[in-house]
Amino acid sequence: MGDIDDTHFETGDSGASATYPMQCSALRKNGFVMLKSRPCKIVEMSTSKTGKHGHAKVHLVGIDIFSGGKNVKKYEDICPSTHNMDVPHVKREDYQLTDISDDGYLSLMSDNGDLREDLKVPEGEVGAQLRADYDAGKDILCTVLKSCGE
């Protein structure tokens, strides 16, 4: 099995908003949040306050969920815990890998039979391993990450 998080473009999420608001204090580590207009996974979350009798502020460190490998994009933000933050809708779907085309595109099939062929083999180690496993005839399941229309 291989797991791939890849970037691809989709035309709009049928008009629905890409994010929803959530109170800062209710966010969780390993959850998602929009930082600098990018969908991020929260990898660090701590609270602090301004002065001893001040109110809580939340310090967030997130990484762009569509960045990976060598160019990880890390963002930080600090905001009062009463504020609402935008949280991206993040959807991860599993697809069965059915074919790899000559020009490097994947043929994927979802559980309910939908087909898609718009994703390229990812670069780097994972891609190489994926090709090797596919050539060896293994069954491969790919996870595709989708958020904010990407």
Binding site: M1, G2, D3, I4, D5, D6, Y20, M22, Q23, C24, S25, A26, R28, K29, N30, G31, K41, V43, S46, T47, S48, K49, T50, G51, K52, H53, G54, H55, A56, K57, I63, I65, S67, G68, G69, V72, P80, S81, T82, V87, H89, K91, R92, D94, P122, G124, E125, V126, Q129, L130, T143
Partner: protein, 1116 residues
């Protein structure tokens, strides 16, 4: 020949010392290896002497001294006595007649000291006495720089005897060291001390300013004196935490120590040098040590009284005449602390006036230090005064225990110190707290809060407060009332118009004041009760009783006050006659109302969450001790306290109502303050977990309101971890219901809504399509949080009902995990839930229920494994993610295993059980082991957890480990090998335990021909090599030795071969011979039966073996 070597060494030294751009890397390495070889040379004495004579190169000279040191340690027992003496004399002469660079000189001095020490073991210190005589001559008669040299020799000598860490360096076992030191102490140490005192008494005749050489010499003398006073007893105190051990002397020291001039002299010196930074410290340490005089020297009470009296008179003379400076405060406070520790029983026998003066001075010092500490806090640089203040408080808590609190003097001191402390923490005009000028720096929430940072301080202040409750309680409530009044005025004016800057500052001051008054009140009214039943302190109870007896308070007025909390009335009727404890609590509850009022006029964002937290803390503490007290715990009860807080009183119900209402409003209004909410939930859990109390809480309307509040809340509104705390509380409270039917219906009220929510989600037809929608996820997260809370709150009485409720959900969760396997938050919550169930519920569960939990856990781990084996990811932080998951899985496996150690289930009838704890653990382990890469093991906590689990499984199920499939076995042993070589000593310890356990098992069950035994075989050599090459530190050495013993029992031939090959490796026949002898001694009289007795004997032999072998064997 030697000249060639010298010039070669000098060249090499030149290369090593050259700047990096002049020489190449290869040249440097070549030069280094020349020195490395040089260090290994055998019998290097002539060549080193020649180098010392001829070479001018400091680096080479230093290396020569180093080589001498190593060689002497290694070859001491082969050297001829005449050679030793001549070498010693040569070195002594060398340093007394030549100008050597300081670092060369120091190394030679060390060699000399080692030689003298080694010699003293054989000749009972004759050589040492000779050397000392020469040194004394040097100091008395010679030039200033020779005097210093003399001091240096003494210092080095003492260091050699004192050092405990270096003991194996000189190739001596610990006992021999100890004996040598005792002998040194008994003879020459006293002589050194006397000699120093004599010289100091000469020095003290001149007044500062001192000449440079005089300064240096006095400094050395003081350092030596200090060392003498701290050196004694250092071995005995090796395991104690206190840095400076007590001055424990034998009676042979009487004459010197009890000489009437000694104490005055030492104090006089201190007085003279206290402004000289380089001397003051050493001199003060001498005084501190003298304050801890004990041992055989204080042969009778009379001797002790006399010494104490003399000490105190000189001490009083000093402290009443000078102002103590910040740096010396620490030393002075240490003197007080030590005096109290060692002489507390003698203090009452001091003449009357002296004791009173002493207590007065202690009080004055304490207050001074407290003031100083307050200043230090605002500057945040040094902590001399703060530490000194803590020392004084430690002394006081002993004093208060020892003396009857009714003594007027003590009451007066307590009052003064208490007042001073309160003042230091209040803003002007009442106090003298430094304002931090509105300095709004960011404070991280992981910083300690005041209540834990100043816990010890506050506890002692509480003790002071309870000595004089008639003073402290009125003081506290008056202060509190004034602050609340100010706060209300301020809030009202803010309601009408915007606040200006000075008002903002004064609001901050009010908050800080309230915060501290609450902290202090909480410690005066209640004592810390870690693990004990919280009680009303007897002093407070007594005070309340007496107040009532004297008609100063009445129950009626007290009740009126409680009733008046809610009303807008500022002062309840007959407030003067309200019990003082209740009056403080009245104010606290009032403060809660004021907070709610502020929220109601939309000023909630101006309140201080810190104060809110402190309020929750106070209420928790107070409720635990006072609210609904268990009456038969007390001999005497105050009618006012019991009348308004006892069970079945309307008043107590009111208090419960107020407290729960505040919990509710915090949960509702302050959802953005995680810390405040945590304290709120803590309060809730703690007041409902005492059965006798929660009986009276559970059936109240307030409780029902709280439950309703939660059910009406939108999912995902509370910060993480709060919901589980709330549910833990709900579940804990239920145990108070005696009647099973009541209990059932209560739990139904809590659990049914959860069940319905759960069902309504799962039963949705399109669940597999909508599961990733946020609103669905939120509900799932909320539910899991509640379940975790339920697991955490389980107790023996409730576990059956609760598990019955949870079990169906648990069995669903593996499916959930598969569905949500891409959503880490949920995956981790599921893992955590199972872990918590195993931790808090499993030990009470019946075999049948345990089996259900095992099955679900197994299915869950299987599901997790299926989703994660062979998974590759392009995601950043993938490693960190798997670390978090695996830590949770390891937790679960460890908790599950604990069922086999602690099983508190009442009816343990063994039915047919086909899934056991070990199956779950082993399956989990099978799955986890391949994932435990070296990279992941570099997370220290994960690493520790993993190895702990291995040891645990091995302890309980060695047979299952033996039967693991080949490849797993290999992975397992490989990770043990990694553990022995790659991580810290705790992991090494765990691995050694593991290997030892397995070896013992194999030996006992005669499994030598199994693949498992084969796998274990290489460990004998590995562990042997590790110990010989110093890679196992001394703490784990005894485990290593028993481990080696067990392995030897299994693989005796291997051991013989190993020993032989080590012997054969030695090129020097003499060393080979010694090694062979050492190996023979190692196993002499040790039976290879793997039993306890021979194992212990082997352990002792091994210690000697290692000390011996490290001396001559050069193992890289």
């Amino acid at each position: 020949m030697t000249d060639r070597i010298i010039s070669e060494l000098e060249n090499a030294a030149g290369i090593i010392m050259a700047p990096p751009n002049v020489v190449s890397n290869e040249q440097r390495h070549a030069a280094e290896s020349i020195f490395i070889d040089f260090r290994k040379s055998k019998s290097p004495y002539p060549i080193c002497r020649e180098i010392l004579e001829k070479s001018q190169n400091h680096f080479v000279l230093f290396e020569a001294a180093e080589v001498l040191k190593v060689a002497i340690i290694r070859e001491w027992s082969f050297l001829l006595d005449s050679d030793k003496v001549s070498l010693r004399q040569y070195l002594f002469e060398y340093i007394t007649t030549r100008e050597a660079a300081p670092f060369v000189r120091d190394r030679i001095l060390q060699v000399l000291a080692i030689m003298v020490k080694r010699a003293s073991i054989d000749d009972n210190g004759k050589e040492r006495a000779n050397l000392l005589r020469e040194v004394e001559n040097l100091i008395v008669n010679a030039e200033p720089d020779k005097k210093i040299l003399g001091c240096n020799i003494i210092t080095n000598l003492m260091q050699e005897y004192a050092s405990t860490v270096k003991s194996t360096d000189v190739g001596l076992p610990w006992e021999v060291h100890f004996k040598a030191k005792k002998q040194f102490e008994a003879t020459d140490l006293k002589r050194i001390f006397q000699f120093c005192i004599y010289l100091l008494s000469e020095a003290v005749k001149t007044d500062p300013p001192y000449s440079e050489s005089m300064l240096q010499l006095t400094g050395y003398l003081l350092k030596i004196t200090e060392n003498v006073l701290t050196l004694i007893g250092i071995y005995e105190a090796v395991y104690e935490a206190d840095a400076a051990p007590a001055l424990k002397l034998t009676s042979s020291w009487s004459e010197i120590i009890f000489s009437p001039v000694l104490l005055p002299l030492m104090f006089q010196i201190y007085w003279k040098v206290r402004d000289l930074e380089q001397l003051a410290h050493h001199s003060l340490t001498c005084l501190v040590q003298l304050a801890s005089l004990s041992g055989g020297i204080v042969s009778s009470d009379e001797v002790r009284h006399k010494y104490l009296h003399a000490y105190i008179m000189t001490l009083l003379n000093l402290v009443s005449n000078v102002t103590i400076k910040s740096k010396e405060s620490l030393g002075v406070s240490n003197i007080v602390r030590k005096l109290v520790i060692f002489f507390i029983h003698d203090m009452p026998k001091l003449p009357d006036g002296v004791m009173d003066t002493l207590l007065d001075e202690f009080t004055r010092l304490t207050c001074n230090f407290s003031d100083g500490a307050a200043l230090e806090q605002s500057s945040e640089e040094d902590t001399y005064f703060s530490d000194a203040f803590d020392n004084m408080l430690e002394a006081w808590s002993t004093i208060i225990q020892e003396f009857s609190p009714t003594e007027n003097k003590l009451a007066e001191c307590s009052k003064r110190i208490f007042n001073n402390y309160v003042q230091c923490h209040l803003a002007p005009p009442d106090g003298c707290r430094q304002s931090n000028n509105g300095d709004l720096e960011d404070i991280e929430d992981n910083e300690d809060k005041d209540r834990s940072r100043y816990k010890d301080q506050l506890q002692t202040i509480g003790v002071f407060g309870r000595v004089v409750p008639s003073h402290t309680l009125p003081l506290l409530f008056k202060l509190l009332e004034a602050r609340i009044e100010k706060l209300v005025v301020q809030l009202e004016s803010m309601h009408n118009r915007a606040m200006n800057i000075s008002e903002a500052a004064s609001l901050d001051n009010i908050f800080e004041d309230i915060h501290w008054i609450l902290l202090i009140s909480g410690h005066v009214l209640c004592m810390d009760s870690d693990g004990e039943t919280p009680m009303i302190p007897s002093e407070i109870m007594q005070y309340s009783i007496e107040q009532n007896k004297r008609n100063e308070t009445t129950l009626d007025a007290t009740i009126k006050a409680i009733v008046a909390v809610e009303s807008k009335v500022q002062t309840p009727p007959d407030f003067d006659q309200c019990d003082h404890v209740i009056r403080i609590v009245f104010n606290v509850l009032k403060l809660c109302i004021v907070e709610d009022y502020a929220v109601s006029i939309t000023l909630g964002h101006f309140l201080s969450p810190e104060v809110g937290s402190t309020l929750m803390w106070f209420l928790k503490r107070w409720c635990l001790s006072y609210l609904l007290p268990v009456e038969n715990y007390y001999q005497e009860l105050s009618p006012t306290l019991i009348g308004c807080l006892g069970k079945d009183t309307d008043c107590a119900k009111l208090v419960v109502k107020y407290v729960i209402a505040k919990i509710q409003s915090n949960l509702y209004y302050f959802q953005s303050e995680p810390i405040l909410l945590r304290d709120t939930v803590d309060l809730f859990c703690d007041i409902v977990c005492v059965k006798q109390k929660s009986t009276h809480i559970i059936n109240t309307d307030s409780m029902r309101n709280l439950i309703r509040l939660h059910q009406e809340m939108e999912p995902g509104t509370l910060p993480p971890n709060i919901l589980r705390g709330l549910f833990k509380g709900f579940v804990l409270a239920g145990v108070a219901l005696q009647n099973p039917a009541d209990m059932n219906s209560y739990y139904e009220m809590i659990l049914t809504p959860l069940q319905q929510r759960c069902k309504s989600i799962v039963s949705q037809e399109n669940f597999t399509r909508i599961f990733h929608e946020e609103k669905v996820q939120k509900v799932v997260i909320d539910l899991l949080e509640c379940f975790i809370g339920i697991a955490k709150g389980s107790q023996m009485a409730s576990v059956e009902i609760l598990f019955c409720f949870l079990a169906p959900m648990l069995s669903e969760l593996p499916v959930f995990l598969t569905i949500y396997n891409n959503y880490q938050v949920i995956v981790q919550l599921i893992l955590e839930l199972f872990g918590q169930c195993a931790k808090y519920m499993l030990c009470y569960l019946s075999p049948l229920d345990s089996k259900r939990l095992y099955e679900s856990s197994l299915a869950m781990v299987q599901a997790y494994a299926k989703c994660n084996t062979g998974r590759l990811s392009t995601e950043a932080f993938a490693e960190e993610n798997s670390f978090q998951d695996l830590a949770l899985v390891l937790d679960l496996l460890t908790f599950i295993l604990s069922k086999d150690c602690i099983d508190l289930c009442a009816n343990a009838n063994n039915e047919e059980i086909n899934v056991t704890a070990s199956d779950v653990s082993l399956f989990g382990l099978n799955f986890i082991m391949p994932l435990m890469t070296l990279d992941l093991l570099k997370y220290p906590s994960l690493c520790a957890q993993y190895y702990r689990l291995l040891v645990l499984i091995n302890d309980i199920y060695p047979e299952k480990i033996c039967n693991l499939p080949q490849d797993l076995l290999r992975t397992l042993l490989h990770s043990v090998e990694l553990g022995l070589t790659n991580f810290g000593s705790d992991i090494v310890q765990a691995c050694l335990d593991f290997v030892q356990g397995m070896a013992t098992y194999i030996f006992r069950h005669k499994l030598l021909n199994t693949p498992f035994a084969e796998g274990l075989r290489p460990f004998l050599k590995l562990i042997m090599d590790l110990t010989l090459s110093h890679q196992i530190n001394s703490d784990t050495m005894s485990s290593a030795s028993t481990c080696i013993y067990s392995l030897m029992c299994c693989f005796q031939e291997d051991y013989q071969m190993l020993a032989q090959s080590l012997i054969d490796m030695q090129s020097d026949p003499m060393i080979a011979e010694r090694l062979a002898a050492a190996f023979t001694n190692l196993t002499s009289l040790v039976a290879m039966t793997c039993d306890r007795q021979p194992k212990l004997r082997f352990r002792d032999n091994f210690e000697k073996f290692i000390a011996n072998v490290h001396g001559f064997l050069l193992v890289k």
